[in-house]
Amino acid sequence: MQVANKTNAVEGPDFSKETPVVLSSPSFHDITEVISRPIESKAGMKWYIALAVAVSLFMLEIFCWGISFYYGTGMWGNNIPVAWAFPIVNFVFWIGIGHAGTLISAILFLFRQKWRNGIARFAEGMTIFAVMTAGLFPLFHTGRPWLPLYLFPYPNKHAVWTNFLSPLLWDVFAVSTYFTVSLCFWYVGLIPDFATLRDRTLGKDFISKVRKTVYSVLSLGWRFSNRHWRHYERVYLILAGVSTPLVLSVHTIVSFDFAVAGLPGWHTTIFPPYFVAGAIFSGFAMVVTVLVFIRYIFDMEHIITIDTLEKMNKIILLTGTLVGYAYGMEFFIAWYSGNIVEQFAFINRAFGPYAWAYWIMISCNVITPQIFWFRNLRRSVPIMFIASIFVNIGMWFERYVITVTTLVRDFLPSSWGWYNPTLVDFGLLIGSFGMFFTLTLLFVKFMPVVAISEVKGVLAQAKPHHHHGGGHE
């Protein structure tokens, strides 16, 4: 290889051979050690500080939900015509974040993308937490949040059935299915790792005993037997297959909340693919934002490699451009349709009173990812960190633009209104990050943040033709 490099005299990747997924060729044991270290060692000060901040924000969210519950939805800025605002924006935003996980773990698994193995576990965990964070919004967003039962089709003596024509009802099923399947998928993948942790927990003190018991229960009697592995692989494949359509369906159905309504700016057929692309876009951005921290803090640069991150950035570039295409296409169709209300809605988005939000969205979502055309920028950790944050700001604003600008000015100019979020609205938005990061921090402390067994599977020595004693450079 060195010969080739010399003759080529070009710096850059060597496409003549597969890029190793894990760098510096660690042994199986090294992998286990690195991944188990954060769980088994005492948590550092940084973790406690981070958790304190996250829990404080989480408490803020709980407080804000509490006063919304006690006084009513009037504590928010919602009004007529803007009956949906921050809570729905937050809901769609977090559901979108939750998309990366299943995409990485299921779709990339089916496509045999080995680079996914380093990040799949974390992305899946993120999915679960994001969906949990998101799920609170539609639940408590209703005027009478103590009656969620009405949203389920249960037989009752009033003989009232739910309305299966309503996209909100589809949402109930789509989101709960997605959450359930994602949780199963995540848990199934965790079983061998729980067993590893169980076996490594040898202390005789009380904490260790508790820990061992918990891991024993969670690992469901996993004994690394060949038979276990066979069943495991089969279940994992099936769940990957089941999850794959869900990746597309959830955000498609979330987009139906808007697209099925008749409002200008909502009633467009492009919404499902556009929402899915946007969801993957924001999900990947969130994974990048958090992973660059994790790989740095836990010394996992060789497991979550820069190559992996680069691949993520490529997907961000792709989906960001797709989203940009959708923005443009919406305008084109508005013009092409000849529908003056539709045309007004889009011109009003870009040049009306909420133009600032629209241009934040465009600059964050369409312009920012274009920097990833450049390899240097794509592989620069600080750049990708900042860009991914911009993407998430942009994606939040996308939902804000869609929800608010359409509702503020729809058909009858007499009912045009205005929307001002309240402190409670902001409290819920900020607090939702608290909830998400609280769960994330607990996850990285108590569960293997990288799938131990999966990473081992992509090491050189895991390959059948690998011969011991050689190949280490």
Binding site: Y71, G72, T73, G74, G77, N78, N79, I80, P81, V82, A83, W84, P138, H141, T142, G143, R144, P145, L147, P148, Y150, L151, H158, V160, W161, T162, N163, L165, S166, P167, L168, L169, V172, D257, V260, A261, G262, L263, I340, V341, F344, I347, N348, L407, D410, F411, L412, P413, S414, S415, W416, G417, W418, N420
Partner: protein
């Protein structure tokens, strides 16, 4: 256990399941006892596993469930329910009783039917038998029921010392008042009253004056027609100017007159609308409005000219010269037009119309214009030969003439000199109403004994020693006569809620000079006595009791009474006129408060929250100025402006109103009350402080200076400000086919010219068929003036909560109906379109498909209905409603508004028991008064007949003075509503959205020349 028994004893009867069993195969018999034969141990014994038997377990379960239930509390305290011990004969629970009676405001009386439920009045509707108002009622009368249940009513007599009040008794107060009246000596006593509309009250006042020499009555009305009436006296003789036969006028020129708005009444609107009826056979009238501030009349006008109010004299004189064909260099229409920038082409049309319609054309000067303009207007009408348009048979009746300014001056100086021993205010509030420079409030301090008989605490009561509670109209006996030939009766429909007395009964007690003389029947007997004297004069064939009973039943009696006709025009009136020169400075125009009246409705949440028909501002008054004037003064909306008249100042928030003439500041009166309870205190600014008692000849217009003041005050509107500078936002109501407009002249030639041309809409699915009745509504935009009576009636009928200005500002007003206002044209000369908007009860209702819980759905008779207790409040329905007519309970507004004032027990009685009071978190909207439909259906079933569309009258339709709202059965081809649905001018709002709405609108036909 049982197993063993069965095994040992052979089965008594042979039931077998298989041949093996029949044969008694031991393996099979043994297997029968084991449900899970293989792999399950036999020794499974539940009793061995737990000490609790199944029976015991169930007992414990039941007991704990019972304990849980016992510890449950009601969701909300329901209060105590006390059933009738002996049921009153006339009350059938659940069935309303109607009583004819009369309700009053300051200066007006209206014959009404009061709906009572289980003995409490809940709704007022117009008396359908009344020959003039014909069942119609204005919003002020409607909303006056709120005063009955006002939790802050004065509940018992109060004795005050320097503005601090302590409880007192009637006896204490009566004794002191009688003593003071007896001890008057040479001193005077004054009874200050609002316009007295009752002949019997007048008798009581007369006898009080007779009983206590030195006592006199001072009557006033803040919004009076003194200029009109004194001009009439000068030009035609007689006491008061008769009302107009609006239905007979072909051309109306309104000079600074808001006769369709704040200055109008029910009759005016009713009669005017008769000439705007596409279904009627009479042609449309034509309305020219020449005015300074934008008014409801100006919004409805076919032509509107902007003119400073103080230039109206010039304008009227020039018009008179033009009509007479006299040439006058000083007053010629062309020079006036040039001077004030009026459109000469419109003026030419105006003059042409007046001349062409002699006898049917009318110039009508506004109440706030000085007498001289009224004199000229009368002269024009005389020149046009239009005196036949005066309705002399309805000339207002005055029982006590209003006190003249000189009389007030004399009273106040007597008071200041200590010559007045007693001042009694009968339901009047002069401290608030009178100009400060009269010095009435200070003078009260020098009076020995000041008494206020009132329902609510107010500014004058604050300055009184005794505040004595009086009955509300619905608790009172009385009679009223405001026009010749009709005498209205008022009867109580509820026992007095508080320790209040009938105002006249209090006076009678004082006349008797004995505080023990009072009893509840005192005034009733007096009233009956008075009517016993009336009875023989009417030469009726029936005896008194029958007469009295039928009068009570009908709410009024009519008799023929001759009224003088219009006297000949006295030309001399014109020659003595003092010319009014228009100024070039700022001019303050003090307008009548549309919602709050003279301030008496300041504490009425419904009226305060009704969006002003012109500006859509709620809970406030403001300085309405033109965009150019705003620019000149450097003002934006919500800035504050300091207006100075002489040494009197007021700081007002600014509202830039398109169509206002430049250099005019229009302000409404009736706001800024200092003592008007939790709701009304300090709402808006009291512009009355700009008035001067000395400027009696022109009390509503003042030359002023205006400068920008510091600070801002946010005015809350229900419709966003219209920006005339953004082209893409212009004329959207026309571009989007929300309002369809056409020319009446074209329509008169060819009705099809006014047809709405939409695309033919095709459904790919089969539409639902409606058998039987299908409810629908039609709204005639030509008849609708935008007065808002419908909105108030809807609030009252449907228990719509009041939310307060902060919540309205957040966009959370709860009114089910609204009146949309659109501008086109320029900011200086806007053309206004109005549209009543409410739930359209669409066949393809967009709200219904998106509700996840089926809380909003369609009834078989075409109603889009709401099941409140199923609604979880996703608000998706509101989002998907293209008309945005749904309203959401973001809070429990009864708890939240004004510190839960309207949650107080006494106010709860106002709620219509037929309509659910919605909890927080549920969506609501117009139901087409489903409770009335259900009631009518019930009645139809009881009478074993089919329900007909005409059986149901919805609340908004019922009150609409101009009959612009039509409701009925769309499936009945004979019904009125079907006629409208089929009418060539009928259209649906946003037809191409294909929601298939069931509210048909009639195209706005503008009666311009083109």
């Amino acid at each position: 256990m049982d197993n063993n028994l069965q095994q040992t004893q052979p089965p008594a009867t042979q039931y077998w399941k298989s041949l093996e069993e029949l044969a008694g195969d031991p393996a099979v018999l043994a297997g029968k006892q084991h449900e899970f034969q293989a792999g399950v141990t036999d020794d499974f014994d539940p009793q061995a596993m737990s000490g609790i038997s199944r029976r015991k377990f169930l007992a414990v379960l039941g007991a704990s469930a019972a304990f849980t239930l016992a510890s449950c509390k009601a969701y909300r305290d329901q209060g105590k329910i006390v059933p009738y011990n002996k049921k009153p004969e006339e009350i059938l629970p659940g069935t309303p009783n109607y009583y004819a009676s009369t309700v009053t405001t300051h200066g007006e009386a209206c014959s009404v039917l009061i709906r009572t439920r289980e003995g409490r009045p809940v709704y007022l509707k117009g008396n359908p038998d009344h020959p003039v108002t014909q069942g119609k009622i204005s919003s002020h009368f409607q909303a006056s029921i709120m005063a009955l249940y006002n939790p802050e009513r004065v509940a018992s007599p109060l004795k005050g010392e320097g503005g601090n009040f302590s409880p007192a008794t009637w006896q204490e107060a009566d004794t002191e008042i009688i003593a003071a009246l007896k001890a008057l000596g040479g001193k005077k006593a004054a009874l200050v009253v609002n316009r007295v509309m009752s002949p019997t009250t007048r008798q009581v006042l007369d006898s009080l004056m007779a009983a206590y020499p030195g006592t006199s009555v001072y009557s006033y009305t803040l919004y009076n027609e003194s200029a009109r009436d004194s001009a009439w006296k000068k030009t035609h003789g007689g006491n008061a100017c008769p009302p107009i036969k609006w239905h007979e006028a072909d051309v109306v020129v309104a000079l600074e007159s808001d006769f369709l708005g704040a200055e109008g009444d029910i009759e005016t609107e009713m009669r005017y609308a008769q000439r705007r009826d596409v279904m009627g056979d009479k042609p449309f009238n034509r309305l020219y409005a020449v005015e300074g501030p934008m008014s409801l009349t100006g919004m409805n006008a076919d032509y509107r000219l902007r003119l400073r109010p103080d230039a109206q004299f010039e304008f009227a004189m020039s018009l008179l010269n033009e009509i007479k064909g006299a040439s006058d260099a000083e007053y010629s229409l062309s020079s006036v037009a040039k001077k004030h920038g009026l459109s000469e082409s419109v003026l030419k049309l105006l003059v042409g119309d007046l001349k062409a319609n002699k006898g049917k054309a009318l110039v009508y000067a506004g109440s706030r214009l000085p007498e001289a303009v009224h004199v000229v207007a009368n002269a024009i009408n005389d020149a046009l030969g239009s005196t036949g348009l005066y309705h002399t048979a309805e000339t207002p009746v005055e029982h006590i003439p209003a006190a003249t300014p000189e009389q007030w001056d004399a009273l106040v100086s007597d008071m200041k000199a200590g010559n007045v021993g007693v001042v009694v205010h009968l339901d009047s509030n002069p401290v608030y109403h009178f100009p400060a420079d009269l010095g009435y409030a200070e003078a009260l301090g020098k009076v020995g004994l000041v008494v206020s008989l009132t329902k609510e605490h107010h500014e004058t009561a604050q300055n009184s020693k005794y505040v004595l509670p009086i009955h509300h109209d619905l608790e009172s006996w009385n009679d009223y006569k405001v026009r010749p030939g009709i005498q209205l009766l008022q009867q109580p429909v509820i026992q007095p809620l508080h320790d209040s007395r009938q105002q006249e009964a209090a006076l009678l007690t004082w006349i008797k000079g004995d505080s023990a003389a009072h009893n509840e029947k005192l005034y009733y007997d007096y009233l009956v006595g008075a009517w016993k004297q009336l009875h023989p004069k009417l030469n009726l064939l029936v005896d008194f009791q029958t007469f009295w009973n039928s009068a009570l039943h009908d709410g009024f009696v009519t008799y023929s009474e001759s009224t003088p006709g219009v006297g000949a025009f006295k030309g001399a009136a014109l020659s003595g006129l003092k010319a009014i020169k228009p100024g070039s400075d700022m001019l303050v125009v003090l307008q009548r408060g549309f919602n709050v009246g003279d301030g008496q409705f300041a504490d009425n949440g419904w009226l305060q929250e009704f969006p002003h028909p012109v500006t859509k501002v709620v809970w406030d008054n403001y300085a309405a100025i033109s965009p150019a004037t705003a620019k000149e003064l450097g003002l934006r909306n919500d800035d504050q402006v300091e207006v100075t008249v002489g040494d009197r100042k007021v700081v007002l928030p600014v509202f830039i109103q398109p169509g206002t003439v430049d250099k005019v500041i229009a302000v409404e009166l009736g706001y800024g009350r200092e003592h008007a309870g939790t709701i009304g205190t300090k709402v808006g600014v009291n512009a009355g402080v700009l008035r001067s008692h000395k400027q009696q000849d022109n009390p509503w217009l003042y030359a002023a200076t205006a400068v920008k003041a510091s600070g801002r005050h946010h005015l809350v509107t229900t419709q966003t400000h219209h920006d005339f500078n953004i082209p893409r936002e212009q004329d959207l109501h026309l571009k989007r086919k929300i309002i369809h407009e056409a020319s009446y002249q074209e329509y008169a030639k060819d009705p099809n010219s006014a047809a709405f041309h939409g695309h033919h809409l095709v459904n790919i699915t089969k539409m639902r068929e409606y058998e039987g009745v299908k409810w629908a509504m039609a709204i005639d935009a030509n008849k609708c003036t935008g007065c808002g009576s419908c909105v108030i009636a809807c609030n009252l009928e449907n228990n719509v909560p009041i939310v307060g200005p902060e919540q309205v500002d957040r966009g959370r007003e709860m009114q089910w109906m609204r009146i949309d206002r659109y501008y086109s044209g320029t900011a200086d000369e806007p053309v206004v379109s109005q549209q009543v908007m409410l739930c359209q009860h669409c066949d393809n209702a967009p709200c219904e498909v998106v509700c996840p819980v089926n809380a909003t759905n369609h009834s078989p008779d075409g109603l889009n209905q709401m099941a409140y207790n199923r609604c979880v409040g996703t608000r998706y329905c509101s989002n998907n409603c293209p008309y945005k007519v749904r309203r959401f309970n973001f809070f429990d507004y009864r708890d939240r508004f004004a510190k839960a004032l309207y949650r107080k027990d006494v106010h709860q009685l106002i709620h219509n028991p037929e309509v659910t009071v919605r909890s927080r978190g549920v969506m609501e909207k117009c139901t087409f008064c489903v409770q009335r439909i259900m009631y009518a259906r019930q009645e139809a079933i009881k009478a074993k007949r089919d329900l007909k569309g005409s059986d149901v009258v919805v609340a908004c339709q019922e009150v609409c003075p101009s009959d612009a709202i039509i409701f009925g059965d769309a499936n009945d081809p004979e019904s009125k509503v079907s006629q409208y649905r089929k009418h060539v001018t009928g259209y649906h709002v946003l037809e191409e959205f294909n929601a298939r709405p069931n509210v048909t609108y009639v195209a706005t036909l503008r009666n311009t020349h083109a």
